[in-house]
């Protein structure tokens, strides 16, 4: 399948998910070719202290987000699950599974600051099979922790 056509299908799927199946897109979710914007709210954060007591290398953190489009509806449209392993006292290597109605997206990478980070979209299942790109996440509020997730899919 041509790369451009595949990217179009991915974006269409995300847009359809966001609009038709309840995935939250912000006021203008589609900001350009291959760009989707969602909002998320952290619902749980669990840290498993595996090394020396306190946060340190080897600790594992599991974070769950609900994904929203608050302008359209207040109920969650999907969810994201982070599984992170601390590589330093504050940096983590994370794998994120984003659950969407028509499949899943898988993203991963290093997170230094929780407030602003960027992950690579590594692939996906079903409609998002072989998806590529990045997702940039910026925190908007601290309590509760909310983020804007900006997907830039290139293929």
């Amino acid at each position: 399948m041509p790369r451009s056509l595949f990217m179009t299908l991915i974006v269409a799927g995300l847009a359809a998910a966001a609009l038709g199946y309840g995935w939250s897109a912000s006021s203008s979710a589609v900001t350009g070719p291959g760009t989707i914007r969602l909002t998320s709210r952290e619902i749980s954060r669990t840290r498993i202290d595996l090394g020396r007591p306190g946060r340190g290398v080897g600790d594992t953190e599991i974070v769950k987000h609900n994904l929203f489009n608050l302008r359209l509806r207040s109920k969650p449209l999907g969810r994201a699950e982070y599984v992170c392993t601390y590589t330093t006292s504050f940096a983590r290597a994370c794998t994120v599974t984003i659950f969407m109605p028509r499949g899943r997206l898988i993203a991963g990478g290093s997170i230094r600051y929780n407030d602003v980070y960027e992950l690579a979209v590594l692939g996906g299942t079903r409609l998002y099979d072989d998806a590529r790109g990045t997702v940039t996440v910026i925190r908007t509020t601290r309590r509760p922790r909310r983020h804007i997730m900006l997907f830039r899919l290139t293929g």
Binding site: S26, Y113, D115, Y117, E118, T140, I148
Partner: protein, 495 residues
């Protein structure tokens, strides 16, 4: 169509064409104005785009300043730009509304700026308030660069498109200007050509015919009355040429009449001269006889028998003089149309018989043979004048038969007329002279032949017959004698 109507029609057509030309010119000028307005609008849009880009630059600058320093004062440009943003975006979109594609680009650009502010700039500033390191980290910086690059790329695209539109408008304005100038020049040339053609038409339809009339009038004034103009021409010109031709014809007729009258005057003059000559000649002979014989009678002692003979001659010559004077008077009356008749019912046979009887003894060499019907031949006429006519015919028959012979006189009723004919065996009349036999003072070869007369007898005779409603003519051939005849209408109730 008359000339004036043609000229009016030509003027109207010319005016319509000129008005049409000006209409096209005005349309071209209007299009030029529109193109200039589009060009000016493009400049306004470009200015609005630059203002919005500057505002966006203030947003980015303020945001970066705050993130880098953490000082609130560096956020001031961002705060002010944030307040201005909605108004400027609205203004920008409104100005871009003239072109749908640019409007779409403007809306996308506005949305990108709003998204930048709402989903990047504001959250990042919020992050910076608590975690400045995260806000100025490479991820934030890269994201900022991506977003601002994208927005600036959109600005570039929008501006380049607007520049292209402005250039197209300018080019269109130039084209419209060239077109307007071209149309104006073409219109002027066409109008000039039309005016020249109109002038040529006027010259051909008016000036040329008028010049032809003037030339013909000059020729006419110079005496060439046969001058005519060729018929035709539009309307009034045709009427002018027709009137000129009528005038020339009238002048030619008048001149012909004048010439005819002159000729008649000359003829009259010649006739008077002839009359004087004839009168002198005709009167001289009997007067000479009268004078001669009376002198003899007075001067000599003449025997009585001879006296009587001389007195008979004097008497005869006096009668001849009287007859001549009567003829002249009659000719004069005929000339004046004052021939008087005293008509009454008479027997034409009796009139003829009386005249035959009178002329029988006048010539020993001639014999008068009268053939008259036993019944009366009634006509309504003047007996003296009709007797004068018959006497003239008999006298001529005798005079123009110098060798003698028989003169046949016949009177009869033929249908509704009384016909009298006098046939002689005399000289006859040559064919070339026959047309003038009844003309006054015409005597043919009589002068040469020494035959006396005035040349008035036949003229008077024919006039008398015609005054009675009849006609008179003759048949003759040289050397074969002549037949003179007259016909008078028969009277309704005979005597």
């Amino acid at each position: 169509m008359s000339l004036s109507a043609r000229m009016i029609a030509a003027s109207v057509i010319l005016a319509v064409l000129v008005a049409g030309g000006f209409g096209v010119l005005i349309s071209a000028m209007s299009a030029l104005d529109d193109a200039k307005q589009r060009e000016a609008h493009s400049k306004d849009v470009a200015v609005a785009a630059l203002a919005l880009e500057k505002l966006f630059g203030d947003l980015v600058t303020g945001e970066r300043g705050f993130i880098l320093t953490g000082e609130q004062r560096f956020l001031q440009p961002w705060t002010e730009a944030r307040k201005e943003l909605d108004r400027r975006v609205l203004e920008f979109e409104q100005l871009s509304a003239a072109n749908p594609e640019q409007l779409q680009r403007a809306r996308q650009l506005s949305a990108a700026i709003r998204d930048y502010v709402l989903f990047y700039s504001e959250p990042l500033i919020e992050v910076a308030r608590t975690n400045r390191a995260a806000a100025r980290g490479e991820v934030a910086e890269a994201e900022s660069k991506r977003l601002t690059d994208e927005i600036r790329r959109r600005f570039d695209t929008f501006r380049s498109e607007e520049d292209a539109l402005a250039a197209a408008s300018a080019s269109s304005a130039d084209r419209q200007s060239d077109r307007a100038i071209g149309l104006a020049v073409t219109g002027l040339v066409v109008c000039a050509v039309l005016i020249v053609l109109f002038g040529v038409y006027l010259a051909r339809s008016t000036a040329r015919p008028v010049r032809a009339v003037a030339t013909a009038a000059s020729r006419l004034a110079a005496g060439d009355l046969s001058t005519r103009l060729s018929r035709g021409g539009p309307g009034e010109v045709g009427e002018l040429t027709a009137a000129f031709n009528r005038m020339a014809e009238e002048l030619e007729l008048s001149r012909a009449e004048l010439e005819s009258q002159n000729e008649q005057l000359r003829q009259s003059e010649r006739r008077k001269s002839e009359l004087v000559r004839i009168v002198s000649h005709e009167l001289r002979t009997p007067l000479a006889s009268v004078l001669g014989f009376t002198s003899v009678l007075l001067d000599r002692d003449v025997p009585p028998e001879e006296q009587r003979h001389y007195l008979d001659i004097v008497n005869s010559q006096a009668r001849r003089l009287s007859s001549l004077l009567n003829d002249f008077l009659d000719a004069e009356r005929l000339e004046e149309g004052e021939l008087e008749l005293s008509p009454k019912l008479i027997d034409m046979g009796a009139v003829v018989a009386e005249q035959v009887q009178l002329y029988k003894g006048q010539s020993a060499k001639h014999m008068l043979d009268a053939a008259l019907p036993p019944t009366p031949l009634p006509v309504h006429g003047d007996p003296n004048r009709l007797a004068q006519v018959i006497g003239n015919l008999l006298s001529n028959a005798i005079k123009y038969s110098p060798d003698g012979g028989t003169v046949h006189i016949e009177a009869e009723q033929v249908d509704s007329v009384i016909r009298v004919s006098v046939r002689d065996q005399g000289l006859g009349i040559p064919e070339e002279l026959q047309q003038r036999v009844f003309a006054k003072f015409f005597r043919g070869d009589a002068d040469v032949s020494g035959i006396p007369g005035t040349g008035l007898g036949l003229t008077i005779a024919r006039s008398v017959v015609e005054a009675h409603g009849g006609r008179m003519n003759f048949e003759s051939a040289r050397g074969q004698g002549s037949v003179f005849w007259l016909e008078l209408p028969i009277a309704a109730n005979g005597p």
